[in-house]
């Protein structure tokens, strides 16, 4: 019968309109909340909340109170704002060599002023131009000392292209929220970059930290 197909289509539309399992819309970045929810978030009931915060309650009734929403995101999400641990980095520049676009710039000081402490180079410049980065993660895969990790953010909006260059000061100061991509040792700790912070540089390595005896065994008794 002519028109039956359209009726079928309308049936699908209606099913998707009413079934709660088909509702996927997420209000992002902010979600309006009702007075009930607001009171619940403040651990009170509606009446006492309205008496104590009348302005807030009226605003909520009018639909002006919003709470931020974060979309669910897997801990492996490869995001911006690379996480870098200066204590782990040796300045070997493997990451710069493996980057297909060549956008990591590393300058190390080879003057030898740190030779007493084991010959470690001083890293003076570590620029990542994330304006050109494609977040492929090859630099992270290449880093032999687990110093560089993908970040987990994705909201990087700036007005000038130059501001997209992450320099060494910014890397040092940035919150340490490494993504667990290609870092099974972090994933096995059930680390969630959205809520946790990984300050301790010893925890992110894939190797056990050698004990004093082991180091003596390896390096001193030869």
């Amino acid at each position: 019968m002519y028109g039956l197909g359209m009726v079928r289509g309308m049936g699908v539309t209606f099913k998707n309109l009413v079934l709660p399992s088909r509702q996927f819309a997420v209000q992002y970045p902010n979600r309006k909340i009702s007075l009930f929810e607001l009171a619940k978030e403040n651990d009170t009931d509606v009446v006492s909340f309205a008496i104590n915060n009348p302005v807030q309650a009226i605003k909520a009734l009018a639909g002006f109170v919003e709470v931020p929403v974060r979309l669910p995101q897997h801990s492996r999400f490869r995001g911006e704002e690379f996480t870098w641990y200066e204590q782990r980095c040796t300045g070997c520049a493997s990451c710069a060599k493996f980057c297909p676009l060549g956008i990591i710039k590393i300058v190390t000081d080879t003057s030898g002023k740190y030779e007493q402490d084991g010959g470690k180079y001083d890293i003076e410049v570590f620029d990542i131009d994330i304006g050109r980065c494609m977040f492929c993660g090859l630099c992270v895969q290449a880093c032999p000392y687990d110093a560089l990790h993908m970040g987990s953010g994705f909201e990087e909006g700036v007005y000038r292209r130059d501001d997209l260059v992450i320099d060494v000061e910014r890397l040092k100061a940035a919150p340490k929220k490494p993504s667990t991509w290609y870092r099974p040792q972090i994933e096995s700790q059930n680390f969630d970059p959205q809520s946790d912070d990984m300050r301790e540089y010893l925890d992110v390595g894939r190797h056990e930290r050698p004990s004093q005896d082991q180091q003596v065994d390896r390096w001193a008794k030869r």
Binding site: Y2, G3, L4, G5, M6, R8, G9, G11, V12, T13, K15, N16, F24, Q73, H74, R76, F77, R78, F98, P100, M134, F135, C136, G137, L138, Q141, A142, M150, S179, W181, Y182, P184, E187
Partner: protein
């Protein structure tokens, strides 16, 4: 009384809402009827093949993501298979199964995009596309679990995969595969028996089997014309010979058949993935392949059945760390060879729909 008319040539594109990207069609009309079509492309040319000559074999994986950007996994797979053949690299069994799962998930996602945009061009503005994108989004969520990215995945490496699937991937995949047939039913309920869709797509833009074969057309477009040719059956790669699936074909080769074949292929992909989940063994997912692959001197061609057709990579090695030549056989590009035969004789409104049904992705056409 016959009105005297004159043919008029107009440009469709490069900035046109229905050309899937920056693509220009120089069309000559007589009244409303197409009398000649000349495709002009190259607006999205990024020199992928040339860039590949100065990158290492692993770095090229990131380039292949950007060919057919609705099916990055399949591009990755085609490329790493060529490198493995060139370098004689073995792949562990678990990695092969995971690769098949990824490629089939990507096939479903890519067909969703293609069907959605075909309906968009029919005039079903937005609604079916949003249904398609809603389901595709769940597949992209799975890809995010696997490799942290949603579109530019770079998940595969010569010798296996970069990383094993996390533990929460398997339950999520199971849930999705359980609900996927229902979602495909929803899409079919919206579209398949809709009278407007039938009137606009049946017997429109017919490719005969002879024309399809002579024009080197592959993929769902070829199968819609009634030719049973699928590289997964004809030349089983990875573990496809151990899996049971059918290759849907059409009868007429019209726009409607191309739609139906894609829907049926999505159902078959669900079947394949369910078998893979049952059969997948444990073990390693990466063989001992070095980061700098140095294949011996020689050349190799290897192709897979990508969502759009036969996607092949021809690599020539001079023994160094990057290929001497990398030629990409892109299915979207070669499927356009029959564009003129499909379009001539149809009206302006049909032109957009027929072009949409070829499922062209300009990232792959221009490379």
């Amino acid at each position: 009384m016959a009105i005297k008319t004159e043919p008029i040539t107009i440009n469709m594109g490069p900035q046109h809402p229905s050309t899937h990207g920056v693509f220009r069609l120089r069309v000559t009309f007589d009244g409303e009827v197409v009398v000649d079509v000349e495709p002009v492309f190259g607006y999205l040319h990024r020199g992928t093949e040339k860039l590949a000559e100065e990158r290492t074999y692993v770095q090229i994986v990131t380039l292949t993501d950007r060919l057919d950007y609705t099916a990055s996994m399949s591009n990755n797979l085609a490329y790493v298979r060529s490198v493995e053949k060139l370098g004689g690299i073995e792949v562990p069994e678990r990695a092969q199964y995971l690769r098949v799962i990824c490629a089939e998930l990507q096939r479903i996602a890519s067909h969703f995009v293609s069907i959605g945009f075909m309906l968009q061009e029919l005039g079903a503005f937005g609604t079916p596309l949003m249904y398609c994108f809603r389901e595709r989004e769940r597949i992209l969520d799975l890809f995010e679990m696997l490799c942290g990215a949603r579109i530019t995945l770079s998940y595969m490496r010569p010798g296996g995969l970069i990383q094993d699937a996390p533990e929460d991937f398997w339950p999520a995949l199971g849930i999705l595969m359980e609900s996927m047939p229902e979602y495909i039913d929803d899409l079919e309920g919206l579209v398949t028996s809709n009278e407007i869709v039938l009137a606009r797509t049946r017997d429109v833009g017919i490719i005969s089997p002879e024309l399809a074969v002579n024009g080197s057309v592959t993929g769902p477009m070829l199968r819609a014309s009634g030719v049973q040719w699928d590289l997964r059956k004809a030349n089983p790669y990875e573990v496809y010979d151990r899996l049971e699936f059918d290759v849907p074909i059409g009868y007429q080769g019209d726009t409607y058949d191309r739609y139906l074949v894609r829907v049926q292929e999505m159902r078959e992909s669900v079947r394949i993935i369910e078998q893979c989940i049952k059969q997948i063994p444990g073990g390693a997912i990466q063989s001992e392949a070095p980061f700098f692959v140095r294949p011996p001197v020689g050349d190799v061609y290897d192709a897979i059945e990508a969502p759009k057709g036969e996607l092949g990579f021809y690599l020539v090695s001079d023994g160094g760390i990057s290929p001497y030549r990398c030629k990409i056989r892109a299915p979207s590009f070669i499927n356009l060879t029959v564009l003129r035969d499909m379009l001539v004789g149809w009206k302006l409104a049909d032109l957009v729909v027929i072009f949409g049904s070829t499922d062209v992705v300009l990232g792959e056409v221009d490379r």
